[in-house]
Amino acid sequence: MIEVLNAGRWTTIQDRGRSGREHFGIPPGGAADWFAAAAANRLVGNHPDAALLECTVAGPSLRFDSDVHVAVTGARAAGIETWVPQVATAGSTLEVGAIGPGLRTYVAVRGGIDVPVVLGSRSFCQRGAFGGGFGRPLAAGDRLVEAALVDGEPLSSSWPAGHRLSIGSPWEVRVIGGPHSDAFDRGTLERLTAVACRVSPELDRMGMRLATPSLRMQAHEIITVPMPAGAIQVTPAGELIVSLADHPTTGGYPVIATVITADLPLLAQARPGDTVRFREADLAEADRAWRRLAGWLEMDT
Protein backbone atom coordinates (compact mmCIF):
# COMPACT_ATOMS: atom_id res chain seq x y z
CA MET A 1 0.00 0.00 0.00
CA ILE A 2 1.13 3.50 -0.81
CA GLU A 3 -0.19 6.55 0.99
CA VAL A 4 -0.32 9.88 -0.82
CA LEU A 5 1.00 12.42 1.70
CA ASN A 6 1.06 15.27 -0.78
CA ALA A 7 -0.44 14.93 -4.25
CA GLY A 8 1.80 17.39 -6.10
CA ARG A 9 0.42 19.84 -8.65
CA TRP A 10 -1.48 17.50 -10.97
CA THR A 11 -0.77 13.80 -10.53
CA THR A 12 -2.95 11.31 -12.37
CA ILE A 13 -3.03 7.56 -12.92
CA GLN A 14 -2.33 6.67 -16.56
CA ASP A 15 -1.54 3.65 -18.69
CA ARG A 16 -1.39 3.10 -22.45
CA GLY A 17 -4.84 4.63 -22.91
CA ARG A 18 -8.17 3.56 -24.36
CA SER A 19 -7.97 3.68 -28.13
CA GLY A 20 -10.94 2.75 -30.30
CA ARG A 21 -13.59 4.71 -28.40
CA GLU A 22 -13.24 8.05 -30.09
CA HIS A 23 -16.57 7.58 -31.89
CA PHE A 24 -18.19 8.07 -28.47
CA GLY A 25 -16.24 11.29 -28.06
CA ILE A 26 -13.87 9.56 -25.65
CA PRO A 27 -10.23 10.66 -26.00
CA PRO A 28 -7.57 7.94 -26.25
CA GLY A 29 -5.81 9.25 -23.12
CA GLY A 30 -2.88 7.41 -21.60
CA ALA A 31 0.53 8.76 -20.57
CA ALA A 32 1.28 11.98 -22.45
CA ASP A 33 4.97 11.03 -22.74
CA TRP A 34 4.29 7.44 -23.75
CA PHE A 35 7.98 6.65 -24.09
CA ALA A 36 8.99 7.68 -20.57
CA ALA A 37 5.98 5.82 -19.13
CA ALA A 38 6.85 2.64 -21.03
CA ALA A 39 10.47 2.91 -19.87
CA ALA A 40 9.36 3.28 -16.24
CA ASN A 41 7.30 0.10 -16.51
CA ARG A 42 10.25 -1.73 -18.13
CA LEU A 43 12.59 -0.63 -15.33
CA VAL A 44 10.42 -2.28 -12.66
CA GLY A 45 9.61 -5.34 -14.80
CA ASN A 46 5.96 -4.44 -15.37
CA HIS A 47 3.62 -5.51 -18.12
CA PRO A 48 3.21 -2.67 -20.66
CA ASP A 49 -0.44 -2.25 -19.58
CA ALA A 50 0.46 -1.50 -15.95
CA ALA A 51 -0.82 1.82 -14.62
CA LEU A 52 1.58 4.40 -13.17
CA LEU A 53 1.62 7.99 -11.96
CA GLU A 54 1.98 10.93 -14.31
CA CYS A 55 3.26 13.93 -12.31
CA THR A 56 3.10 17.47 -13.65
CA VAL A 57 5.15 20.56 -12.63
CA ALA A 58 5.63 19.33 -9.05
CA GLY A 59 5.46 15.70 -7.96
CA PRO A 60 3.82 13.93 -5.01
CA SER A 61 5.13 12.57 -1.70
CA LEU A 62 4.39 8.88 -1.33
CA ARG A 63 4.80 6.70 1.77
CA PHE A 64 5.32 2.98 1.27
CA ASP A 65 4.25 0.38 3.85
CA SER A 66 6.35 -2.40 2.33
CA ASP A 67 9.49 -2.78 0.18
CA VAL A 68 8.57 -1.99 -3.43
CA HIS A 69 10.59 -1.63 -6.63
CA VAL A 70 10.00 1.81 -8.12
CA ALA A 71 11.32 3.77 -11.09
CA VAL A 72 11.03 7.45 -11.92
CA THR A 73 11.43 8.56 -15.55
CA GLY A 74 10.62 11.45 -17.87
CA ALA A 75 11.58 14.94 -16.83
CA ARG A 76 14.04 15.40 -13.96
CA ALA A 77 12.49 16.05 -10.56
CA ALA A 78 14.18 17.67 -7.59
CA GLY A 79 15.42 15.39 -4.85
CA ILE A 80 15.09 12.11 -6.68
CA GLU A 81 17.11 9.89 -9.01
CA THR A 82 15.52 9.27 -12.38
CA TRP A 83 15.83 6.45 -14.92
CA VAL A 84 17.21 3.98 -12.34
CA PRO A 85 15.53 0.97 -10.76
CA GLN A 86 15.32 1.50 -6.99
CA VAL A 87 13.63 0.02 -3.97
CA ALA A 88 11.39 2.08 -1.72
CA THR A 89 11.70 0.45 1.69
CA ALA A 90 8.86 -0.12 4.11
CA GLY A 91 8.09 3.10 6.00
CA SER A 92 10.09 5.28 3.60
CA THR A 93 8.78 8.31 1.77
CA LEU A 94 9.46 9.02 -1.90
CA GLU A 95 9.38 12.75 -2.55
CA VAL A 96 9.12 13.79 -6.18
CA GLY A 97 9.94 17.50 -6.10
CA ALA A 98 9.84 20.34 -8.61
CA ILE A 99 9.93 19.05 -12.18
CA GLY A 100 12.10 20.48 -14.94
CA PRO A 101 13.47 20.94 -17.49
CA GLY A 102 10.48 19.21 -19.02
CA LEU A 103 6.99 19.07 -17.58
CA ARG A 104 6.05 15.49 -16.74
CA THR A 105 7.66 12.82 -14.57
CA TYR A 106 6.47 9.21 -14.30
CA VAL A 107 6.51 7.01 -11.21
CA ALA A 108 6.07 3.28 -11.77
CA VAL A 109 5.78 0.78 -8.93
CA ARG A 110 6.31 -2.94 -9.45
CA GLY A 111 3.02 -4.56 -10.50
CA GLY A 112 1.42 -1.24 -11.41
CA ILE A 113 -1.30 0.67 -9.56
CA ASP A 114 -4.41 -1.41 -8.95
CA VAL A 115 -7.44 0.60 -10.08
CA PRO A 116 -10.49 -0.60 -12.07
CA VAL A 117 -10.40 -0.69 -15.85
CA VAL A 118 -13.02 1.76 -17.14
CA LEU A 119 -13.80 1.70 -20.85
CA GLY A 120 -10.70 -0.33 -21.60
CA SER A 121 -8.14 1.56 -19.55
CA ARG A 122 -7.06 2.55 -16.06
CA SER A 123 -6.25 6.08 -17.23
CA PHE A 124 -7.92 9.11 -15.71
CA CYS A 125 -10.02 10.99 -18.28
CA GLN A 126 -10.42 14.57 -17.13
CA ARG A 127 -13.17 15.59 -19.53
CA GLY A 128 -15.32 12.60 -18.64
CA ALA A 129 -14.30 12.62 -14.96
CA PHE A 130 -13.82 8.84 -14.90
CA GLY A 131 -10.97 6.33 -14.67
CA GLY A 132 -7.67 6.64 -12.84
CA GLY A 133 -9.21 5.02 -9.78
CA PHE A 134 -10.73 8.14 -8.33
CA GLY A 135 -12.22 9.91 -11.35
CA ARG A 136 -9.94 12.82 -10.43
CA PRO A 137 -6.26 13.60 -9.95
CA LEU A 138 -4.67 12.23 -6.78
CA ALA A 139 -5.36 14.03 -3.50
CA ALA A 140 -3.57 13.90 -0.15
CA GLY A 141 -4.80 10.95 1.87
CA ASP A 142 -5.46 8.69 -1.13
CA ARG A 143 -4.23 5.13 -0.73
CA LEU A 144 -2.86 3.25 -3.71
CA VAL A 145 -2.56 -0.51 -3.91
CA GLU A 146 -0.02 -2.34 -6.05
CA ALA A 147 -1.37 -4.71 -8.70
CA ALA A 148 0.40 -7.78 -10.09
CA LEU A 149 0.84 -6.83 -13.74
CA VAL A 150 4.44 -7.97 -14.00
CA ASP A 151 6.31 -9.20 -17.03
CA GLY A 152 9.77 -10.23 -15.89
CA GLU A 153 12.19 -9.03 -13.24
CA PRO A 154 13.09 -5.40 -12.51
CA LEU A 155 16.12 -4.23 -14.49
CA SER A 156 19.37 -4.30 -12.55
CA SER A 157 21.00 -1.21 -14.05
CA SER A 158 19.98 2.30 -14.98
CA TRP A 159 18.36 3.08 -18.31
CA PRO A 160 21.13 3.81 -20.87
CA ALA A 161 21.60 7.55 -21.31
CA GLY A 162 21.80 7.03 -25.07
CA HIS A 163 18.34 5.47 -25.05
CA ARG A 164 16.46 8.49 -23.70
CA LEU A 165 15.00 11.49 -25.46
CA SER A 166 16.81 14.73 -24.87
CA ILE A 167 14.55 16.93 -22.74
CA GLY A 168 14.75 20.71 -23.04
CA SER A 169 13.87 23.70 -25.21
CA PRO A 170 14.21 24.24 -28.16
CA TRP A 171 12.23 21.19 -29.17
CA GLU A 172 12.52 19.86 -32.69
CA VAL A 173 9.32 18.06 -33.60
CA ARG A 174 8.75 16.19 -36.84
CA VAL A 175 5.42 16.37 -38.66
CA ILE A 176 3.64 14.80 -41.60
CA GLY A 177 1.96 17.47 -43.75
CA GLY A 178 -1.86 17.58 -43.81
CA PRO A 179 -4.47 16.27 -43.88
CA HIS A 180 -5.86 19.73 -44.77
CA SER A 181 -2.96 21.01 -46.84
CA ASP A 182 -5.43 22.26 -49.46
CA ALA A 183 -7.12 24.55 -46.92
CA PHE A 184 -3.97 26.71 -46.83
CA ASP A 185 -2.10 28.81 -49.35
CA ARG A 186 0.76 27.02 -51.07
CA GLY A 187 3.97 27.13 -49.11
CA THR A 188 2.29 27.62 -45.70
CA LEU A 189 3.84 24.49 -44.16
CA GLU A 190 7.29 25.50 -45.47
CA ARG A 191 6.86 28.88 -43.80
CA LEU A 192 5.64 27.28 -40.58
CA THR A 193 8.65 24.96 -40.41
CA ALA A 194 10.97 27.94 -40.88
CA VAL A 195 9.87 29.83 -37.75
CA ALA A 196 10.20 29.31 -34.00
CA CYS A 197 6.87 28.68 -32.26
CA ARG A 198 6.37 29.59 -28.62
CA VAL A 199 4.39 27.42 -26.19
CA SER A 200 1.52 29.43 -24.63
CA PRO A 201 0.56 29.20 -20.94
CA GLU A 202 -2.74 27.55 -21.82
CA LEU A 203 -1.62 23.93 -21.70
CA ASP A 204 -3.03 20.69 -20.35
CA ARG A 205 -3.30 17.02 -21.30
CA MET A 206 -5.88 17.84 -23.98
CA GLY A 207 -3.70 20.14 -25.99
CA MET A 208 -1.25 22.98 -26.19
CA ARG A 209 -1.39 26.33 -27.92
CA LEU A 210 1.57 27.73 -29.77
CA ALA A 211 2.06 31.31 -30.88
CA THR A 212 3.70 31.98 -34.23
CA PRO A 213 4.32 35.74 -33.95
CA SER A 214 6.15 36.24 -37.23
CA LEU A 215 3.89 34.09 -39.36
CA ARG A 216 0.62 34.98 -41.09
CA MET A 217 -1.45 31.95 -41.94
CA GLN A 218 -4.81 32.17 -43.61
CA ALA A 219 -6.94 29.06 -43.62
CA HIS A 220 -10.27 28.25 -45.20
CA GLU A 221 -12.97 27.11 -42.81
CA ILE A 222 -13.83 23.44 -42.49
CA ILE A 223 -16.69 21.45 -41.02
CA THR A 224 -15.97 19.46 -37.84
CA VAL A 225 -13.67 16.51 -38.56
CA PRO A 226 -12.20 13.67 -36.48
CA MET A 227 -8.59 14.26 -35.42
CA PRO A 228 -5.77 12.13 -33.99
CA ALA A 229 -3.26 13.10 -31.30
CA GLY A 230 -0.60 15.37 -32.76
CA ALA A 231 -2.98 17.20 -35.11
CA ILE A 232 -1.91 20.85 -35.48
CA GLN A 233 -4.98 23.03 -36.02
CA VAL A 234 -4.64 26.60 -37.17
CA THR A 235 -7.14 29.07 -35.70
CA PRO A 236 -8.42 32.08 -37.67
CA ALA A 237 -6.08 34.24 -35.57
CA GLY A 238 -3.11 32.18 -36.77
CA GLU A 239 -2.50 30.44 -33.45
CA LEU A 240 -1.70 26.71 -33.41
CA ILE A 241 -3.56 24.16 -31.27
CA VAL A 242 -1.82 20.79 -31.00
CA SER A 243 -3.81 17.77 -29.80
CA LEU A 244 -2.26 15.80 -26.94
CA ALA A 245 -3.29 12.51 -25.28
CA ASP A 246 -6.68 13.69 -23.92
CA HIS A 247 -7.53 15.68 -27.04
CA PRO A 248 -11.06 16.44 -28.20
CA THR A 249 -11.88 13.69 -30.70
CA THR A 250 -13.01 16.21 -33.31
CA GLY A 251 -11.97 19.72 -34.23
CA GLY A 252 -13.25 22.58 -36.31
CA TYR A 253 -10.06 24.23 -37.57
CA PRO A 254 -8.03 22.94 -40.52
CA VAL A 255 -5.01 20.76 -39.70
CA ILE A 256 -1.84 21.91 -41.42
CA ALA A 257 0.29 19.01 -40.22
CA THR A 258 0.32 16.16 -37.71
CA VAL A 259 3.13 15.32 -35.27
CA ILE A 260 4.66 11.87 -35.71
CA THR A 261 4.05 9.32 -32.93
CA ALA A 262 7.74 9.14 -32.00
CA ASP A 263 7.88 12.90 -31.29
CA LEU A 264 4.67 13.19 -29.23
CA PRO A 265 6.74 12.56 -26.05
CA LEU A 266 8.73 15.72 -26.83
CA LEU A 267 5.60 17.87 -27.03
CA ALA A 268 4.34 16.27 -23.83
CA GLN A 269 7.43 17.65 -22.08
CA ALA A 270 7.36 21.19 -23.53
CA ARG A 271 6.64 23.96 -21.01
CA PRO A 272 5.00 27.37 -21.45
CA GLY A 273 7.55 29.74 -22.96
CA ASP A 274 9.56 26.95 -24.60
CA THR A 275 10.44 27.09 -28.28
CA VAL A 276 9.16 24.45 -30.70
CA ARG A 277 10.45 24.08 -34.25
CA PHE A 278 8.52 21.82 -36.57
CA ARG A 279 10.26 19.90 -39.32
CA GLU A 280 8.53 18.08 -42.16
CA ALA A 281 9.19 14.33 -42.35
CA ASP A 282 7.83 11.55 -44.52
CA LEU A 283 6.18 8.31 -43.42
CA ALA A 284 9.41 6.33 -43.84
CA GLU A 285 11.23 8.64 -41.43
CA ALA A 286 8.29 8.49 -38.99
CA ASP A 287 8.45 4.69 -39.11
CA ARG A 288 12.21 4.64 -38.52
CA ALA A 289 11.82 7.06 -35.60
CA TRP A 290 9.15 4.90 -34.00
CA ARG A 291 11.16 1.70 -34.47
CA ARG A 292 14.13 3.38 -32.82
CA LEU A 293 12.14 4.12 -29.65
CA ALA A 294 10.48 0.70 -29.75
CA GLY A 295 13.94 -0.85 -30.00
CA TRP A 296 15.10 1.04 -26.93
CA LEU A 297 12.07 -0.33 -25.10
CA GLU A 298 12.62 -3.80 -26.62
CA MET A 299 8.98 -3.73 -27.66
CA ASP A 300 7.70 -5.98 -30.41
CA THR A 301 7.54 -4.07 -33.68
Partner: protein, 211 residues
Protein backbone atom coordinates in the same frame (compact mmCIF):
# COMPACT_ATOMS: atom_id res chain seq x y z
CA UNK B 1 -14.04 12.30 -55.62
CA UNK B 2 -13.06 11.17 -52.14
CA UNK B 3 -9.92 12.61 -50.67
CA UNK B 4 -7.72 10.22 -48.67
CA UNK B 5 -4.89 11.99 -46.85
CA UNK B 6 -2.39 11.05 -44.17
CA UNK B 7 -3.34 12.37 -40.73
CA UNK B 8 0.07 11.73 -39.18
CA UNK B 9 1.90 8.39 -39.31
CA UNK B 10 -0.91 6.19 -37.97
CA UNK B 11 -4.17 7.50 -39.41
CA UNK B 12 -5.83 8.36 -42.70
CA UNK B 13 -8.54 10.98 -43.10
CA UNK B 14 -11.12 10.19 -45.75
CA UNK B 15 -13.07 13.29 -46.82
CA UNK B 16 -16.19 12.44 -48.77
CA UNK B 17 -17.62 15.94 -48.79
CA UNK B 18 -17.27 19.19 -46.88
CA UNK B 19 -20.98 19.76 -46.56
CA UNK B 20 -23.62 19.12 -43.92
CA UNK B 21 -25.94 16.84 -45.83
CA UNK B 22 -27.96 13.75 -44.77
CA UNK B 23 -26.96 11.89 -47.96
CA UNK B 24 -23.26 12.58 -47.29
CA UNK B 25 -23.64 11.35 -43.71
CA UNK B 26 -25.32 8.24 -45.12
CA UNK B 27 -22.34 7.61 -47.37
CA UNK B 28 -19.84 8.16 -44.52
CA UNK B 29 -21.72 5.71 -42.29
CA UNK B 30 -21.94 3.17 -45.13
CA UNK B 31 -18.18 3.47 -45.65
CA UNK B 32 -17.64 3.03 -41.91
CA UNK B 33 -19.68 -0.19 -41.92
CA UNK B 34 -17.93 -1.44 -45.06
CA UNK B 35 -14.46 -0.87 -43.59
CA UNK B 36 -15.37 -2.47 -40.26
CA UNK B 37 -16.90 -5.46 -42.12
CA UNK B 38 -13.86 -5.99 -44.31
CA UNK B 39 -11.37 -5.43 -41.45
CA UNK B 40 -8.37 -4.72 -43.70
CA UNK B 41 -5.02 -5.78 -42.14
CA UNK B 42 -3.66 -3.17 -39.75
CA UNK B 43 -7.00 -1.44 -39.17
CA UNK B 44 -7.39 -0.38 -35.53
CA UNK B 45 -10.51 1.77 -35.37
CA UNK B 46 -12.59 4.38 -37.19
CA UNK B 47 -14.14 7.71 -36.19
CA UNK B 48 -16.72 9.58 -38.27
CA UNK B 49 -17.87 13.20 -38.25
CA UNK B 50 -20.18 14.84 -40.81
CA UNK B 51 -18.58 14.21 -44.21
CA UNK B 52 -15.36 12.54 -43.13
CA UNK B 53 -13.93 9.41 -41.54
CA UNK B 54 -10.66 8.88 -39.70
CA UNK B 55 -9.06 5.46 -39.95
CA UNK B 56 -6.47 4.54 -37.30
CA UNK B 57 -4.04 1.83 -38.43
CA UNK B 58 -0.91 0.07 -37.29
CA UNK B 59 1.90 0.93 -39.72
CA UNK B 60 3.81 -2.18 -38.62
CA UNK B 61 1.03 -4.26 -40.22
CA UNK B 62 -0.09 -2.20 -43.20
CA UNK B 63 1.32 0.93 -44.74
CA UNK B 64 -0.97 3.90 -45.29
CA UNK B 65 -0.81 3.70 -49.07
CA UNK B 66 -2.10 0.14 -49.13
CA UNK B 67 -4.92 0.95 -46.71
CA UNK B 68 -5.81 4.06 -48.74
CA UNK B 69 -6.05 1.82 -51.80
CA UNK B 70 -8.41 -0.54 -49.99
CA UNK B 71 -10.61 2.36 -48.87
CA UNK B 72 -10.77 3.72 -52.40
CA UNK B 73 -12.15 0.43 -53.71
CA UNK B 74 -15.42 1.32 -51.94
CA UNK B 75 -15.85 4.59 -53.79
CA UNK B 76 -18.98 4.56 -55.92
CA UNK B 77 -19.89 1.07 -54.69
CA UNK B 78 -21.57 1.77 -51.37
CA UNK B 79 -25.22 1.26 -50.65
CA UNK B 80 -25.56 4.67 -49.02
CA UNK B 81 -28.94 5.72 -47.77
CA UNK B 82 -30.12 8.62 -45.69
CA UNK B 83 -30.41 7.36 -42.10
CA UNK B 84 -33.99 6.75 -40.98
CA UNK B 85 -34.18 5.39 -37.45
CA UNK B 86 -36.86 5.97 -34.85
CA UNK B 87 -36.96 9.48 -33.41
CA UNK B 88 -35.85 9.85 -29.79
CA UNK B 89 -37.54 12.51 -27.66
CA UNK B 90 -35.17 14.72 -25.66
CA UNK B 91 -37.17 16.46 -22.91
CA UNK B 92 -35.81 20.00 -22.75
CA UNK B 93 -36.35 22.93 -20.40
CA UNK B 94 -35.97 26.01 -22.54
CA UNK B 95 -34.44 28.23 -19.88
CA UNK B 96 -30.89 28.55 -21.22
CA UNK B 97 -28.85 31.64 -20.29
CA UNK B 98 -28.65 32.77 -23.94
CA UNK B 99 -32.31 32.26 -24.91
CA UNK B 100 -33.28 35.93 -24.51
CA UNK B 101 -30.15 37.09 -26.34
CA UNK B 102 -30.76 34.70 -29.21
CA UNK B 103 -34.35 35.87 -29.53
CA UNK B 104 -33.29 39.52 -29.52
CA UNK B 105 -30.62 38.96 -32.17
CA UNK B 106 -33.07 37.44 -34.63
CA UNK B 107 -36.03 39.67 -33.74
CA UNK B 108 -38.23 36.91 -32.43
CA UNK B 109 -39.89 36.27 -29.10
CA UNK B 110 -38.37 33.54 -26.90
CA UNK B 111 -41.50 31.44 -27.42
CA UNK B 112 -40.95 31.59 -31.18
CA UNK B 113 -37.32 30.49 -30.80
CA UNK B 114 -38.49 27.50 -28.78
CA UNK B 115 -41.15 26.71 -31.36
CA UNK B 116 -38.60 26.79 -34.19
CA UNK B 117 -36.03 24.72 -32.31
CA UNK B 118 -38.51 22.10 -31.05
CA UNK B 119 -40.48 22.11 -34.28
CA UNK B 120 -38.37 19.72 -36.31
CA UNK B 121 -36.50 16.44 -36.20
CA UNK B 122 -32.73 16.46 -36.22
CA UNK B 123 -30.15 14.06 -37.50
CA UNK B 124 -27.11 13.26 -35.33
CA UNK B 125 -24.09 14.05 -37.52
CA UNK B 126 -21.35 13.41 -35.02
CA UNK B 127 -20.59 12.37 -31.45
CA UNK B 128 -17.30 14.00 -30.67
CA UNK B 129 -15.30 16.82 -29.14
CA UNK B 130 -15.99 15.62 -25.59
CA UNK B 131 -17.46 12.32 -24.30
CA UNK B 132 -21.01 11.98 -25.62
CA UNK B 133 -21.28 15.50 -27.08
CA UNK B 134 -24.01 15.20 -29.71
CA UNK B 135 -23.86 17.35 -32.86
CA UNK B 136 -27.21 17.61 -34.66
CA UNK B 137 -28.49 19.40 -37.70
CA UNK B 138 -29.73 21.29 -39.27
CA UNK B 139 -31.47 24.26 -37.73
CA UNK B 140 -34.14 26.43 -39.25
CA UNK B 141 -32.18 29.13 -41.11
CA UNK B 142 -33.63 31.80 -38.85
CA UNK B 143 -31.84 30.25 -35.84
CA UNK B 144 -28.40 30.23 -37.46
CA UNK B 145 -26.18 32.45 -35.32
CA UNK B 146 -22.42 32.64 -34.76
CA UNK B 147 -20.90 31.18 -31.60
CA UNK B 148 -20.56 33.44 -28.57
CA UNK B 149 -17.71 35.93 -28.92
CA UNK B 150 -16.11 34.55 -25.77
CA UNK B 151 -16.64 30.89 -24.88
CA UNK B 152 -17.78 29.92 -21.40
CA UNK B 153 -15.22 28.09 -19.32
CA UNK B 154 -17.91 25.84 -17.80
CA UNK B 155 -21.01 24.62 -19.58
CA UNK B 156 -23.06 22.21 -17.46
CA UNK B 157 -23.85 18.68 -18.66
CA UNK B 158 -27.20 18.48 -20.46
CA UNK B 159 -26.98 22.00 -21.91
CA UNK B 160 -28.64 22.40 -25.31
CA UNK B 161 -26.94 24.91 -27.59
CA UNK B 162 -27.03 26.30 -31.09
CA UNK B 163 -24.18 27.47 -33.32
CA UNK B 164 -24.31 28.14 -37.05
CA UNK B 165 -26.59 25.57 -38.70
CA UNK B 166 -26.10 23.11 -35.81
CA UNK B 167 -27.68 22.31 -32.50
CA UNK B 168 -25.93 20.18 -29.91
CA UNK B 169 -26.11 18.70 -26.44
CA UNK B 170 -23.24 18.89 -23.96
CA UNK B 171 -23.08 15.43 -22.40
CA UNK B 172 -20.45 16.29 -19.79
CA UNK B 173 -19.40 19.58 -18.24
CA UNK B 174 -16.89 21.27 -20.52
CA UNK B 175 -15.92 24.67 -21.87
CA UNK B 176 -18.06 25.79 -24.79
CA UNK B 177 -18.93 28.63 -27.11
CA UNK B 178 -22.40 27.66 -28.28
CA UNK B 179 -25.48 29.77 -27.48
CA UNK B 180 -27.24 27.92 -24.68
CA UNK B 181 -31.01 27.90 -25.01
CA UNK B 182 -32.07 24.95 -22.84
CA UNK B 183 -31.14 21.96 -20.78
CA UNK B 184 -32.11 18.30 -20.61
CA UNK B 185 -31.96 15.84 -17.72
CA UNK B 186 -31.38 12.99 -20.16
CA UNK B 187 -28.04 11.36 -19.42
CA UNK B 188 -26.06 11.35 -22.65
CA UNK B 189 -22.81 9.91 -21.34
CA UNK B 190 -22.33 7.17 -18.76
CA UNK B 191 -18.93 5.47 -18.55
CA UNK B 192 -20.57 2.42 -16.93
CA UNK B 193 -23.10 1.95 -19.76
CA UNK B 194 -22.64 -0.01 -22.98
CA UNK B 195 -22.52 1.89 -25.23
CA UNK B 196 -21.35 4.81 -23.05
CA UNK B 197 -22.89 7.43 -25.35
CA UNK B 198 -26.68 7.74 -25.69
CA UNK B 199 -26.56 8.73 -29.38
CA UNK B 200 -24.55 7.76 -32.44
CA UNK B 201 -24.24 9.35 -35.87
CA UNK B 202 -27.31 8.59 -37.96
CA UNK B 203 -29.71 8.63 -34.98
CA UNK B 204 -32.62 11.06 -35.08
CA UNK B 205 -33.97 13.11 -32.22
CA UNK B 206 -36.48 15.79 -31.34
CA UNK B 207 -36.40 18.33 -28.51
CA UNK B 208 -39.63 18.25 -26.51
CA UNK B 209 -40.30 21.34 -24.35
CA UNK B 210 -40.98 20.56 -20.68
CA UNK B 211 -41.49 22.83 -17.70
Amino acid sequence: MWQVAAAGDRALLVTISRTIDPAVLGEVLALDRAILDRRPPGLISTVTAYGSLLCHYDPAVSDGARLAGEIRTFEGRLDATVPTGSVVDVPTRYDGPDLTDVAAKINLRAAEVIELHAGREYLVYCVGFAPGFTYCGTLDDRLALPRRASPRTRVPAGSVGIAGPQTGIYAVESPGGWNLIGRTDMRLFDPAADPPARFKPGDRLRFVPVE
